[in-house]
Each structure stands twice: as structure tokens, then as C-alpha cells.
Symmetry: D2
Subunit: 345 residues, 4 copies
Amino acid sequence: MAIGSTEMMIVMQESATPEDVERILELLESAGARGHVSTSDLVTVIGIAGERDVIAGLPLEAYPGVDKVLPILRPYKLVSREFRRSDTVITLGETCLGGGHIALIAGPCSVESRAQLLEAASIAKEGGATMLRGGAFKPRTSPYAFQGLGVEGLEILAEARGQSGLPVVTELMDPRHLEVVAEYSDVIQIGARNMQNFQLLSAVGQVENPVLLKRGLAATIDELLMAAEYIVREGNDRVILCERGIRTFETATRNTLDISAVPIIKQRSHLPVVVDPSHAAGKVDLVEPLSLAALVAGADGLMIEMHPTPETALSDGVQSLDPRQFAAVAARIKDVIAWMGKSLG
Amino acid sequence: MAIGSTEMMIVMQESATPEDVERILELLESAGARGHVSTSDLVTVIGIAGERDVIAGLPLEAYPGVDKVLPILRPYKLVSREFRRSDTVITLGETCLGGGHIALIAGPCSVESRAQLLEAASIAKEGGATMLRGGAFKPRTSPYAFQGLGVEGLEILAEARGQSGLPVVTELMDPRHLEVVAEYSDVIQIGARNMQNFQLLSAVGQVENPVLLKRGLAATIDELLMAAEYIVREGNDRVILCERGIRTFETATRNTLDISAVPIIKQRSHLPVVVDPSHAAGKVDLVEPLSLAALVAGADGLMIEMHPTPETALSDGVQSLDPRQFAAVAARIKDVIAWMGKSLG
Amino acid sequence: MAIGSTEMMIVMQESATPEDVERILELLESAGARGHVSTSDLVTVIGIAGERDVIAGLPLEAYPGVDKVLPILRPYKLVSREFRRSDTVITLGETCLGGGHIALIAGPCSVESRAQLLEAASIAKEGGATMLRGGAFKPRTSPYAFQGLGVEGLEILAEARGQSGLPVVTELMDPRHLEVVAEYSDVIQIGARNMQNFQLLSAVGQVENPVLLKRGLAATIDELLMAAEYIVREGNDRVILCERGIRTFETATRNTLDISAVPIIKQRSHLPVVVDPSHAAGKVDLVEPLSLAALVAGADGLMIEMHPTPETALSDGVQSLDPRQFAAVAARIKDVIAWMGKSLG
Amino acid sequence: MAIGSTEMMIVMQESATPEDVERILELLESAGARGHVSTSDLVTVIGIAGERDVIAGLPLEAYPGVDKVLPILRPYKLVSREFRRSDTVITLGETCLGGGHIALIAGPCSVESRAQLLEAASIAKEGGATMLRGGAFKPRTSPYAFQGLGVEGLEILAEARGQSGLPVVTELMDPRHLEVVAEYSDVIQIGARNMQNFQLLSAVGQVENPVLLKRGLAATIDELLMAAEYIVREGNDRVILCERGIRTFETATRNTLDISAVPIIKQRSHLPVVVDPSHAAGKVDLVEPLSLAALVAGADGLMIEMHPTPETALSDGVQSLDPRQFAAVAARIKDVIAWMGKSLG
């Protein structure tokens, strides 16, 4: 499949010889690409046009005389705003996400028991949530922390969906669990730590479920979009991007919510973007201000941790809203959605 | 002056001896502080109470047997929310900042000429700005960039204030210019690069003008508050904090706006906080979404770069709004202020 | 399995009530842990002792009245220096790594062809390398870049091992490939992007092969050690840690080599640590100075990219040494090993 | 003064019109610069040649149709390796720094008393130090920490120089102290927090003393070199650069020593570079491995904190070597210098 033309710029060193330039032009030609040389007093520059998948494989910086290689076009195509001008809207039963439809995804970090999740689903539904979240397989930094209920958790999620009518979002960590996760859940979440688990990305590109792809702790916005490209090029174009904070030197919050990522993703991509203020801040108090900020900055949805009784949570209790807090935050969220002239779900 | 009690916690190494503990208790006692020892199966911990200025000078981590020293209370006092529960409100002529009064500070990066600044002031005033910004002394990364008009710039600022009635904010870079800057301007700005220029902080602590203190590129929120403490303890408690983005690995924006800093500063300090979306993002397109986000997250004001003709600006043209863009963004800002039930100025 | 005692410290808020303290003590007791309360003028602190796997699951920060929870002991056990005082030495056929035996792991980023790899193996052997590296499955940021030869690459690696006698290191990206990778290779590499792919970590904990675990771009040293703990607790204690640079704001290098990680890992863990200067710097020129620096800082080995003809490499050509460069760098490496009184392999 | 030609590259947006291009060419022409247009299927690119001080002032990114502006040449000139091929060697009395002469700068963080400093000087001298460091004016994050002895500290430094024969390095924080610091000390240090205090840089550019310029916590290597350019263009070309760690997410060390900065600075600049392992690591244990690493990576010197009795130090005791530790580290440093065929001082 031809991916379309791309373009890069090679800046030669001052000391580069005409032979150096010639050698690069030959390499480009042999790869089916074209080079265009401009020379001035100080530097020689070679512009390149050709197929992206070919040029990406050329070791241009290793050639003698090359100072640097500057990419000019973005390194993704199918997820780019240029590829599709209109916003991607994802429909799940009766609810939508994108194109003015705001999703409110709520629920506990982990599915801990049938009773806990059914109660969480009912609180979520009542507060106005449009989807239910809950982890059955949990990635944990420490091997000594609770790792999730596994398939049993998936079954509970499916039951909660049946009762509440809310589509269910849950995380996939291992390609060997793809079939069962795809069967029991609506939206498959790829966690931040797996954003560049390319096998997993390719795998979820081959199922029907929409994918919620979380930004890695140290991933740039363009890397997030390239990870999404892995999924879309396999045929699944229902990808929801999720900003959940990046790792910086600041320790007052668990991560630093990169609020600017929201408008930038909307400029660069047609895919919807949601914000997870719970993981970004790691603090209950910050969920409301960050939720409102995300929405006015253009986010298509929010993903909020809520637990019937946070003080008994097996994971992330410190950042989970309790039912009363969730109702209050959800009310403010509905206010700002109305003020913006958008709709919930 | 007694600064008040403080408290730290020393965790001893497993291999620490009773003599190691004894030696620390003696050090504390000789310094007029008190230590309280707790011992368990695994570790011995010493809690410390005493005067902050005394304890801060003790080299506790250098003592034999010490594993780590954990601060328990925050390292600032006068700027803390505990010290003053109510919001600090800063009044400048007829305008206010803080306590529900939102400031809109607008103007060019640099004062370039009398005509440019008077026009900028008139556009700012018309759009609803409550203060005028403009740099007379400019910190520039490159020695080959425009460095500002100096005292001539200050005179132009004073003239613009006279015409527009807007209080003027301008940067001080050198303690030798304090007197003239304090005379010609209303609010003295300390730039991000000088946030830990402690001589400058002490100097502006001794004048009457309010101080707008910008967060350093790599400064934590607590370091920003400690820098403010330098000013306040000299007697000037009219300090405005400014979040303007921190340096991270992300290159899509000039800096990463730390939106969470807004609610965190409001929790930890009584001082007002404004956000500068222009420097954070470095892009005109992002000024509106980041401005709205800052306000709903609780900011007491915004500081926005605007230039009558950005394409001729001698600095920061790329992030300056033009008059038409400024009017549009200012209108949205007024909408959100009204929606929040706060007032402009 | 009991993991052993752990210890944390809870600092209560100034406003905490005796009931808040009581509630926490009850929680601890019900979980089989113990709390020890110390109170002073300003704060109340609760020390905790108990089993790590229990305490790790308690949502202490979510309890009313809690200000912060400070961990006092490190969150890993089996990989810690306290658990085993002597250095872990890993023996592979006739070569060793750790305890004064320095490994020199060299080879191309990717296995591209039989001819390329056999030549690389021969150059590596001649230069003094003690192991051969080469990727059969390649993680690539862009889906349009070369993704590796897969099982064919593994077969070529096995052949190269047969010819050269060098043990082979290759990356595993997908648990579904574990059996085949374990069969064809000696050391299984877990790449930086998969450092927190916990399923993969658990999987390689169950095979015989030593594991080379690369530090994630945004992983702290303690997170690297916890990732190693995931492997070791499954029964595989032959883990080699690899520092390969972290992501920072600096753009002059691909990543920032955290040279301090070497002595810190040696203090905190008994596991050997190698340094990958090629990926850290992303520049051929820096491989020699960073290799020497790593060794004098205490590294147990180096992992260096080398290619018979870097200008034709399908990946990472820009940072691969050519045969002549490799010979020169290897000679300097042997010099410094001799000077330090250690041995190669 | 003409600064010499420079070159940048403007990449136009796909939607840019011929008028957009024309407008930029006119701007360039009116500023005395030249533009060279290349057009391909996908993008139009404008190369620029002209005087650096002119082009730096043009708001090119603010022009309609401009996508991005890519600098091609480095933004400094006088400090660049291209400007002067041979290493700058700085001579101070009988000792040298640069060009194969390694400096060992040792002493306490702060001058605390006459007795303390004279003893430190004698220990430094005995261990082989070639210069003595000690702060009379101290930048402290907390206003409640010891701020230094001021002029009295300078007098003590001068006395210690007289007794030991060691040139003295001390920090300048305020341009109002320039005269007295320049008089009493040999090398003037600009601290990390003042690396972009441009008034201070210009001021020290006008005295005779060599300047030791520390890299800012969040400064790139190129920003450090631009800060040095501020000094050199004022006429003082005896600048010593100092790598002392950058701020990252890692908390195991006080800062992350960027060891790669050493060879990169040597490539890009003719100025000597020293490394400060004490501030980078913040731990006594790491001083030796980081010192050796710095030297084999190509550093021209080391700056090490040492205190006659670290446990009584008024600042930085935790990272100061005691006399016995200093003697041991200095011996290893001398070993590695000899092994490298360089000379101490």
C-alpha cells in the first residue's frame, strides 16, 4: 500500500564535498525517492520527496557530510487532520463521543467485587455518566499490589453494562486476552505503559471495538499519534486518544496534565480526545478544576475515577471521588457543557 | 524574628547505633530544637520541632547513621494559606486582582516605540484589559536579539498609563534599575529566569509596588512559593504569582502549561495567581483555549501578549495576538467570567 | 508467601481529629499491620509495620485527616542489596557478567540478513566482544519503519552464535513469542518501551534464560528495580539491568544518559548493570567517551551498536559504529578495564 | 559590529499563497537579508542568509503562510569551535585549565569562618587541588537558610589564597558586588540560577577575571553556550563552562548529571568545561565515580565540595567530602589523569 508522498530536508555540513551530496542523491534514487539540492554561501540543503515507508528506512544521518535531517511533514497520515477534515464521531449504542458530543466515563480503577461494581455503575448512571470504566487486568508498578480479578472482572463488567445500559471501557494488557476482552467490553483501553507496545496496538487494530489509547508518561503528542496510526492502519479507525498527564520534575501532582495537548491534538488529528484528570493529578481535589479546564480547552470527554467507598479501594483510592463528590463534579461538568452549547453523550 | 515552629523527620539507617541517635539529639539540643525518638522493629525515626531558620541550617543528612531527612511542614510561612486564610486582594487605582476580581493584563512583549505602545494601550483598553504590560528591559536568550528601550521605554509606559488609565506592568532585571522602574510602573514583574535571583527578590520586597513573580522554567510550585516568601518577608505582601509553563520533553509547545498549578497554589497560598498562556504555548492559536482553561481552573487573571502588528514585532511576534484576535479572545474571556459569577477587574 | 515486614509513615493534617487517628489504627489492625502514633505540638505521625503485600493495598491517603504517606523502606525486596550482599554473577558458557567480569555486547540494531549478521558477529568477536546483540523483533515508533525479520532473524542469530561462539542477546516484545525466543537466544532483552509490560515481565520470569531489562525512558531507578522484582519473584534471578538514557528537555542527544544510575543501582541492588551508550546518545561520536565513563562509574558491561556498513542499516544507522570505529572503541575499553584491574568477560 | 552570516529555513504551510512567499521575501530584503525559494510537490521552503543580529529580530513565524522556522546554524559565534579551532587554555598564576591541563577545584560550599576556610585551603592544597572554592554570597532556595558572610567572606578567601597559593573561585550574585568580588577573587563564578541573568553576564564580560559559568537546571547545552556568548562578546573570553546536573523526573539524585554534555560541549565550543559532581548528585558516595566518569569523558576539570567537618557545615554538608574522603578521591583522580596522559593543573 502506498502511504503517500513525504518530505524531509537534509542539511549538509559546511565541510561536505560534492561527492557526499552525490552519494545521497544516488541513495535516494535507488530507493525510488527524489532529492532537490539548494546551495547557498553557507550550507547545502537537500529536500526529499518520496514514499514515507521507503524514506523512513533510509539511514540518512549516517551518511558522510550530513549535519542533520529535518522532518518537514508529520510522521503519520491516517490519523492526521489533513487526511480527514471532519471530526471522527464514535457511536456506542445510544451514546456518542466526538463532534460536539461529550463523553463522561466514570467508574472505579479496579473491579473489586460484583457488589462494588454494580453500585458504582448505578452511581455513575445516576450522575449522568455516559460510559462505565473499570479494570479487570491491572498494571501495577509493584508486583505486591492488587493485580485485578481477570476474567471474573470482565464478567462483572458485562453484568453491570446489562443493568445500567452504559457501555463499558476496560484495559487490555496482553494480546493473549484480546478475544475475551473484546467480547465482554465495548471500548478497549490501552494503558499509558503500553502506548508503545506495538504488538498490542496492531492486535487491537484488528477488532471491531473502539480503542481508548492513553498517552505514555514520556510520550510526545506526535508519538501518541503515531501509536494511534499503528491501530488505524490495521483497519480500526475508531480510536479515542486520552491525555492523562506526563512525567515532569514537579512533585505536587502525580503527573503534569498537559492541557495544551487537547487543542494541539484537535489541530493535528481528526480523532477525539478525552482527558483523565484523576490519573493526571492523583488528587480528588483537583478533579473538578481540571475537568472544567479540559472541556473549555476542547476535550471530547472526561474519564474520572469514582468508587462507592474510596477508603476501601484496592487501588487508586486516593484519587477516586466518592458518590457525593462525583455527583457534585458531574453537575458542574453538565453546567459547562451546556454553557458551551455542546451535549452530554 | 521568630519564624515559628517547624517539623522534620529523620529516618535512621538500619545500621545506626544508639550513639548515632544520641549525637543527633545533642546537635538538636545545642541548636535549641527538640528531637523525639520512635523506634520499631525496623527503623528508628526522630521527629524534630524548633525554629525554621535554625533547623534549616543543620546538616542533618551528613550525620553518621542518617538515612534520610523528610520535611513534614511546608518550607514557607508568610505566603501560606495557613498563615492567612482569606485571599489576598490587590487594588491598583480602580481595578482589583484576587478574591473574585479577574485581571486581564494585555500588551506587547516589548515597548518598541511610542506609537506602538500607545496604540497597544488603546486596543487593550477597548478590549476590556484591566492592566497594560510591556517590557522596557528585555531578557533575551541570544545576545544578538533586541534588548529593549530601557528608561525610554519606561517613560513611554508611563505616558500610556496616563492616556489609558490602565496600571502598567513591566519587568525589572537588575537591582540597579529598581528605583526608576518602581517610579514609572505600577506592578514590577520578575521574569521566570530571575525567579531565584534572590538579591532581586529582596530588593522588590522593599518597595511599595505589587510584584508579579513568574514561575521559573524548572521551578516547582513550592520553590515559587519560597521565592515569594523572599519578597514578603521584606515587608511587601502584594505579590502576584504567575504560571507560565514549565520545561518538559514535549516540543509541540514552547513550554508545558502546568494547569494544575493553579488550584494547588490556591490551596497552599493566599496570594493571587495569574496565567500567561502566551509564553506557555508560544502559539497564537492556543491563547483562547488556555485562557478559558486557566479561568475555570481558578486563576485570578491572565497575562496575554498582544501587538498592534505582530508581524513587525521585535520579539515574540509569533505568540502575540493581533487587535482583531485580541478582541475575540477578550470577548470569550468576559463570557466565562460572567458564567463563573466573577467580575473583570 | 510472606514478603517480609515493611514500614511507612503517615503524617496527619493539623486538623485531624483523634477519631481520624483511631480509624486508621483500626484499618491497620484489621489488615494485620501495626501502627505507632507519635504526637508533637504540630503534627501527629503514625508509623506502620507489617507485610508489604498487605500494606501496599491499603488506600491510606484516602482516609480523612491524612496529609501524606511517606514510604520509608524501598518497595522491592528480592533484588535489593539488603537481600543479597554479594554481586550476582551471570555465567553464559565461557563468559561471565558481574563481579568484576565486564561484558562487551556488540552487534547491529536489527538482524537484516544472514550475510550482515554473520559479518557483524565476526567483527564483534575479533574486537573482543563477549556477546552478540541483534534484533529479530523490532519496536519502532513509526508503523512505516522496518519491523524486523521475526523468526527468520532468530534462526540467523542462532547460526551466528554457532559460528562465533558468542552468546546471543535479542529482544522479546510479545509473550506469544516467548518460547521461540527463549529457544534460539541466550539472553532475552526486554526493551525500554516494555519495561512496565508486566505480563511480559512475569513471562520471562518463568524461563531459564537470563533477562536484560532496559530502563524505560521515563522510569525512575526504583521503578526499574520494581520491574526486575516482577521477574525475580517468578523464579528467574538472572536479571541484567541496562541504563540507556532517560527523556529530558535536552535535545542535543537522543536521550540523557543517567550516569549516576550506575553507582546508585550498585548500592541498591545486587544485580549487574550494563550501559547502552548508543541509544543514550544516538551519536557515533559519543560512544567512546560514554563507554569509558560508564566503566569507571562501575558498570558491569556495555551494549554497543555496530554494523558492518552503517550507511545501509535499516535502523539506527546513525548511531552504529562501523568495523574500524568499533575496533578503536573496543581497544580503549580494554585499556580501561585493564587499568581498573577487572577482566573482560 | 557585524556578527557574520547566518542561515535559517522557513517551511511554508501547504495552503500558503505566492503572495505569502512574496511578503516574506520583501521583509527579508528590507532587512538586508536574502531569501532563496525552493518548491516541490508538497512544500515551499525559503532559505535565508544574512546578519545574525538582523535575522534574530524578524518575527518570521508570525507571517501568514509560515508553518515553521528551522534554525540551521548554531545561534552563537564567538564561543563556537568553528570560530576558534584550538582549545582555550586559561592560566592563573602557576596553574592552567584546558588543553590537557586538568583543574581540581575544591573547598566548602560556604565560607563560614576564618578557621574553617584556612583549614579547608590547607586540606585542598595537600590533596592536590589546583584552586580553592568557597561562597561568600550564597543563593539559597529558602530565605531562612544561611546566606553567606558577604565581604568578610571575601577577605577570608583572599587570606586563604595568600597562605595556600591557590587561586580562589567565588560566586557573584549581584552586579552591585562586582567590583569587590573581582578584587578579592581570581575566578568569578556565575551560579546555575543566574545563568540567564543577562545583566550579570554582561557585567562579568567587562572585567579581567576568568568566569566559571554554571549550567542552569533547565538550560540546554546551546543555551549555556549562548550565555557564554554574552560574556565573551563584552571582551572577556576566559570563560569556563560547568556541567552540574539538570533537573529531571529522577529523584534518586539531587540532579541528573548530563555526562554527554562534556563531549558535546568540546565538539561545539573551544571553551574548557568542568564538572561539579557534588551538586549534581548531592551525595558523598557518588563523588568519586562521577569524577572519574567526567574525566574520561573529556572534562577539563572538577569542582568538588569538601569541608573540614561536614557535619557542622552551614550548607550542603550532605554532599561535602570530609578530609579523609577528599584525599582518597583526589588520589583516584590523579591516577586517572596520569592514565590518560594529561596533567593536573
